[in-house]
Amino acid sequence: MSAEIPEVESVSGTGVAIRGNDIDTDQVIPARFMKVVTFDGLGQFAFFDQRFTDGDEEKDHPMNEPAHREASVMVVNANFGCGSSREHAPQALMRWGIDALIGESFAEIFAGNCLALGIPTVEADEETIEDLQSWVEANPDGEIEIDVASETVTYGDRTVDVSVDEAQRRALVDGVWDTTALMKANAGEVRRTAEELPYVDLDGD
């Protein structure tokens, strides 16, 4: 298998602001779109019920605005991605075009799922987020740069401090977020750990 895991030291692009606390994964990707066996094509269903009416007409939603269609940085509020463990949620956002999220806070499984895709979820306080969201709304084509390594976000003429979970930061910056490759290398130790456990019955033992 390939050991080429890209390092994600920084992400840049234009932004889109999704306002509101406690935005759950059922909103990010409604369950009816999860009846799929691959993640391909999920992008169009991201935030579907917020973006479209029952008759599939476009509603007023930042992701529908032409100015935000190319956005790659999503700016959100608190507890974003709460609810289910569905990786369909970050997959849908990624396939819509999102490469990074900045928010007040993220649900843990959601952030973990993002990391597995190489998508940083960086955090900042309420005021910083509010300022950034307003700026994004006023400057849809303005460039935002997230420096994961130094934990800063630069937009317009401002640079603000953000925080990145330490394990996430190391994983992204050192290019070790593909845990399958990392952990596969320890197969021998895994087996020894397993054999020490009283309840484990392995085939071929």
Binding site: S2, P30, E87, A116, D174, N186, V190, A194
Partner: protein
């Protein structure tokens, strides 16, 4: 950091190494899979030409998309059929045991694991499903994982995780009549918030938890995730062991029971264990809790007024305002009398045999309100069969409930069981998010199973304690 807790003990026994990211690589003792979150992971495995490392520690079921009425193949929904076929192929190729509908063992993943004795104290258990926390009721360390992590577990038998803090939630006292495990967990989430548990694992302890049966403990651990905690557990005790002894695994391997008991005893939290936080709850003060909003933390005692958004912490006000608009509830009122159109008794929170028994006792001799569509969806085929043998099916059907086959059903509306339009549903499930039950205008009120059937009978949210049968516990 915590010390001497079950969490610490189980973590240490399963830690393989520390990864360059600073995360620990943990061995996974049981990997449960279902049709919605596993196919993409198998796809990723194939892309990289990897095999399933420990098929013997993996077990599959089908639950989310399975129709609960006509289950003849091919399923009438093409997408559901495709997902089922994909799962069948994946488990066959990898040599993974599959509790398929033909086996009589199929059901919701968090019901069948414990039922078959796969769930055991001191195991690490993962599944691509956030309610994997349910298995913690047995003193297992169990948590939901995303699809990339499923790939990790399939390929390596391990998962990368950061150790969390441990909060002990001490529930002492005796639950009053009509109040059950579901109310305890709704109350916990109401008090600590849906984010309160982020970064924590919850240890549920205290006399009220100890006197609870395994099913009640499962209902509580199930909703740890709604409180933001990725895992929750109860230390194993005699109640746990009695339950285990009756499961397939230990009936078939009775010698294993004696062999493993010392291990189970060894992982229990010490008397002197240190916790990162302790929260105390007085069981005697509780009453049935129902939700008034669109997150599981927006709950209220049945006789208590719905809070005004401005009474809530600043960061909750906006969500509360939107929720009250969606639910069409007014602050100051109670939820009692809130009209409902649908009653759903099911899900991995509350569709085990004792849940159905308690609910049936309320239903006996009564009729579902003429404006209500009511259904019972047992958590597994075994629950269903046992309930039918006991005559519970007849009780429900006579009263006008639909009796369905096992699956997730209207808990998330991935099959044909869905809310329509603005219907309001009294639901024994765990999530009341907008759109959760299949209609984005639908309204979900979470409550305990007896409250669900009481609502079905009266056509409105009802304090089950006002019904005479309930006084005889």
């Amino acid at each position: 950091m915590s010390e001497g807790t079950l969490y610490d003990a189980v973590w240490d026994r399963h830690r393989v190494t520390t990864l360059p990211t600073g995360q620990d690589q943990l061995f996974v003792g049981l990997h449960l899979i279902h049709e919605v979150t596993s196919p993409q992971a198998f796809g990723m495995l194939e892309e990289r030409d990897l095999e399933v490392a420990y098929p013997e520690l993996t077990h599959a079921t089908v639950d989310h998309i399975i129709p609960t009425a006509d289950q003849s193949r091919p399923y009438s929904d093409d997408a559901a059929e495709r997902m089922m076929v994909e799962l069948e192929e994946n488990v066959r190729e990898a040599g993974i045991e599959f509790s398929d509908p033909g086996s009589g063992d199929q059901g919701i993943v968090h019901v069948i694991g414990p039922e078959q004795g796969l769930t055991q104290p001191g195991k690490t258990i993962v599944c691509g499903d956030s309610h994997t926390s349910t298995h913690g009721a047995f003193g297992a360390l169990a948590f939901g994982i995303g699809t990339s992590q499923i790939r990790d577990v399939l390929a390596t038998g391990t998962v990368a995780m950061e150790k969390q803090k441990v909060r002990k939630i001490q529930v002492d006292g005796e639950l009053p009549t009509g109040v059950e495990a579901k109310d305890v967990i709704l109350e916990i989430i109401r008090r600590l918030g849906t984010e309160g548990g982020v970064g924590y694992v919850y240890e549920y302890a205290g006399s009220a938890i100890e006197s609870m049966g395994m099913e009640g403990r499962m209902s509580i651990c199930n909703m740890s995730i709604e409180g933001g905690a990725r895992a929750g557990y109860v230390n194993p005790d005699e109640t746990t062991y009695e339950w285990l002894a009756e499961t397939d695994y230990f009936r078939e391997n009775p010698e294993k029971f004696d062999e493993l008991e010392p291990y189970w005893e060894s992982i229990r939290s010490d008397e002197t264990a240190e916790y990162d936080d302790v929260v105390r709850i007085d069981a005697d003060e509780l009453e049935p809790v129902v939700t008034w909003g669109t997150t599981p933390g927006q709950g209220v005692g049945i006789t208590q007024p719905i809070p005004a958004p401005e009474e809530l912490p600043a960061d909750k006000q906006d969500t509360a305002r939107r929720a009250q608009e969606h639910m069409r509830v007014e602050p100051g009122e109670t939820m009692e009398g809130y009209p409902i159109d649908v009653a759903f008794l099911g899900s991995c929170t509350n569709a085990r045999l004792p849940d159905l028994r308690r609910a049936a006792a309320v239903v006996e001799g009564r009729q579902v309100h003429e404006d209500v569509r009511a259904m019972v969806v047992p958590g597994s085929q075994r629950v269903q069969a046992a309930a039918e043998t006991e005559g519970l099916r007849e009780t429900f059907e006579r009263a006008g409930f639909e009796w369905r086959n096992a699956g997730c059903s209207m808990c998330l509306g991935m099959n044909e069981d869905q809310l329509e339009g603005e219907e309001a549903c009294a639901s024994s499930s765990n999530r009341n998010f907008v759109g959760r039950q299949g209609s984005k205008d639908g309204r979900t009120v979470l409550m305990n199973p007896r409250m669900v059937v009481a609502a079905a009978i009266n056509g409105e949210v009802t304090d089950v304690r006002t019904l005479p049968e309930v006084t005889a516990r």
